[in-house]
Symmetry: C2
């Protein structure tokens, strides 16, 4: 893998020198720091940017982008580096804009349950800042991602079944355009019909249209009662049917997560879980008033029983609950530990709930046929799941087989009315799937991209090729 | 008011003749039909299109738009004609595309709680089609609007406080671009991170980017228990404080609507309501399980009592409930009846909940100072309200005073972090407010418009001028 750079070394030097004058030691050219910014938490490898800059303000980002635009040098926004679709690879070289110094919670409007943060604030830091207001920010992709990165990739995770995704959470943005203009989208009102919805256009645009620098977020009151439980099943089909029934009864679950047998085995090993079995398992969480949670639990216990589920194993206190979800969040790393020196290729399809059983059972069949070790974990309340394929990255035949398996999983999902990515984004790896999924609509996406970034400097080579 | 037409009569004749060949009697040139398509349910007057066409399919719309694009003749999508911001005025002439013949419910996926409809299906027709599946489509702007029109204007209404707006309801679209391409956006999955969110870009784009021809909608189960009640207050401030407290306690109200004293007087007269007083009043509806509704009602009764509200007056059965909401929906017409030969100029601001009291009290003060009869009605659970200003359209001084009052209301809302339109859109009347609200972000909107509709034929003169 090599970067193809659309600019000369002389122009790059000019830009770096000018940036060094204004940013001082907040530009870094060291190979280690560049490499650290040249990839995410995935199996796409590493393509380091030419330099990394650490702006303090919207105005500094605007200066950086305007200068890069002048010389056609790409800019790649960097949050916490937890992307899993190669969003950070400098495929055409350029400057990484690391937003970690922009880590201020600008305002918390407790009465309106919203807040405004700089893009570099992480979700854990935000929830820490909110804890005295009785509020929380529910979107939880597992990693301690930055809010800006989560907005750019349209992240979601375990709480989305009740609280929605970043699309629902983000009500406004400050962003810097390719020309270096600072724009503000949305408002603090709960709804608006004022012009084009630029907020939602930028959420999920993966840095290809603008650099997101501030995010206005909708928050939620910390529920009176939170209960978490685990239930295991004799088959994936039984667990999935349980989920489908729960969703069709519109039980307002906060989380309902599926781990298949091998995934449970990996998690038991990795997180040293005690008293769990390596069987298909649902991790569940219930939020609400005491009576509402009691009602939800009773309904769900009924459904679980109907499909042969075990008795609920309860997380008795906050500590146990945190342990449980930590184990769930570490599913990816647990899977990687199944085999020495391995990497994990992850799929991320999402299908209509009624197609979930068909889609997952087909994925498990295809996985079995591939003879590759695969775990399966999913935000199944949304119809979203990940087949995690363990590969030896040095074995090219194996990598090819893994890619083929991934393509099969996507193919099945699309045929069932689903999408090739529920929450990770397109990045560099899913451009071909996007073509299949959106066909002629991609022309509209490209027209927008070319209008807003005519020199193609905003995280180029992601989502589609021009 | 006169249309300024960017095309020659010869080209128009050519297009009309060609359309007549393919559409037969589904093109109408009669002055009456054209006039009926040249305005909405508002005080912006009438500018008739040159012709009205009634396509049967996506393909026919594509042909019509491609032909019009060739000759730079504007196209104006027409749903049910219930726009209130002048969206239908043919300010640059052109062809009205009436979607009323595209009125099929294409599919209902009860298990996934979604459906796909042609754009001309009205919300009442859809709810009729859904009734045997135990599902309903909650968005209710009052008028029996078409789903396509509601998507194009980002409509919402009385149920939005619980169920959200068209942004939340629409999960995918079929749309026809200016070039006459048929594109499909979104998917049936509950979430997706696959490329730019064209669905949300088109929702609320008021026909300026594409003609929406099919809509995929999220549906909801009909609640087990529905209860509606009315509570009156001694002052608007007390009623608003009640709402603010209810929202801050996150009580999941389905509807919470405010009518001020004069609005109540108008509704009592117009809808012959018995047993109501002409005082500031909240109309409320609760949805949920029996126990959840009981819990909500108890919480709300407590808050109402705290702010001096009357005892709840209950709608005892479905008939009484429907009567109540019909009276609420007729607030606009009731206001118009306050004065003979009048028109109503309506504002549509939306502010953060914590600013609602300040915003409404300022609006009432400004209304009083204007000496114009004004009613006030609002989806106050969202922070969205309408000051309805009664005007004699032949009295220019009065019209000017009404416009000034409207501008004051918007000005206050924007200063409080709100928006100039919560649900009606920009249309022809709010273009100047949009400039104040979104400043430099409008350049991004314009760049998108010019990229997707370079000849400016898609409902030109709406949202902004190029």
């Amino acid at each position: 893998m090599r970067a193809i750079k659309p600019y000369s070394q002389a122009d790059l030097n000019r830009v770096i020198n000018e940036l060094a004058t204004t940013l001082g030691d907040r530009i870094n050219l060291s190979p280690a720091v560049r490499a650290q910014h040249g990839g995410g938490d995935d199996s796409y490898g590493n393509l380091p940017p030419d330099a990394v800059v650490y702006p303090f303000s919207n105005e500094e980002i605007a200066q950086i982008v305007a200068l890069c635009n002048k010389y056609k040098i790409p800019v790649i926004p960097f949050g916490a580096g937890s992307s899993v679709e190669g969003h950070l690879l400098a495929v055409k070289g350029g400057i990484s804009i690391d937003l970690s110094e922009m880590n201020q919670v600008i305002e918390i409007n407790a009465a309106d349950m919203d807040c405004r943060v700089q893009a570099g604030v992480t979700r854990e830091a935000l929830n820490k800042a909110l804890r005295y207001d009785g509020l929380f920010f529910p979107i939880d992709p597992g990693a301690n991602a930055s809010i800006g990165g989560m907005a750019a990739t349209q992240a979601s995770g375990t709480n989305a079944v009740k609280y929605g995704t970043m699309k629902d959470a983000v009500i406004g943005l400050t962003a810097i355009t390719a020309a270096g203009d600072i724009i503000k989208t949305g408002s603090r009102a709960r709804k608006s019909a004022a012009g084009y919805d630029l907020t939602q256009l930028l959420v999920g645009s993966e840095g290809t249209l603008a650099v997101i620098s501030e995010v206005q977020l909708r928050l939620h009151p910390i529920p009176d009662t939170i209960k978490a439980a685990v239930c295991s099943f004799e088959s994936v089909a039984a667990a999935v049917d349980t989920v489908i029934n729960a969703m069709q009864m519109a039980i307002p679950m906060a989380r309902i997560e599926l781990l298949n047998g091998l995934q449970m085995q990996a998690c038991i090993q990795y997180s040293k879980l005690e008293g769990f079995e390596a069987k298909p398992t649902l991790f569940m969480e219930f939020h609400g008033s005491e009576s509402s949670v009691a009602e939800q639990v009773a309904q769900l216990e009924d459904i679980c029983r109907e499909f042969g589920g075990s008795a609920f194993k309860w997380a008795e206190n906050t500590e146990q609950r945190n342990e449980l979800w930590k184990a769930r969040h570490n599913a990816y790393h647990a899977t990687q530990q199944l085999q020495a020196n391995s990497k994990v290729l992850t799929t991320d399809v999402c299908v209509p709930i009624s197609k979930l059983a068909k889609s997952i059972l087909q994925a498990e069949q295809d996985a079995h046929a591939s003879q590759l070790p695969c775990t399966l974990v999913g935000h199944v309340g949304d119809g979203n799941y990940h087949l995690l394929i363990v590969i030896d990255p040095t074995d090219h035949a194996q990598v090819a087989r893994a890619k083929q398996l991934s393509a099969q999983v996507v193919d099945t999902a699309l045929k069932l009315g689903g999408t090739c990515t529920g929450e990770h984004g397109i990045g560099v790896g899913k451009k071909d799937y996007l073509k299949v999924e959106h066909a002629t609509a991609i022309n509209m996406m490209k027209a927008i991209k070319m209008a807003l970034d005519p020199k193609n400097i905003m995280n180029p080579g992601k989502i589609f090729d021009l």
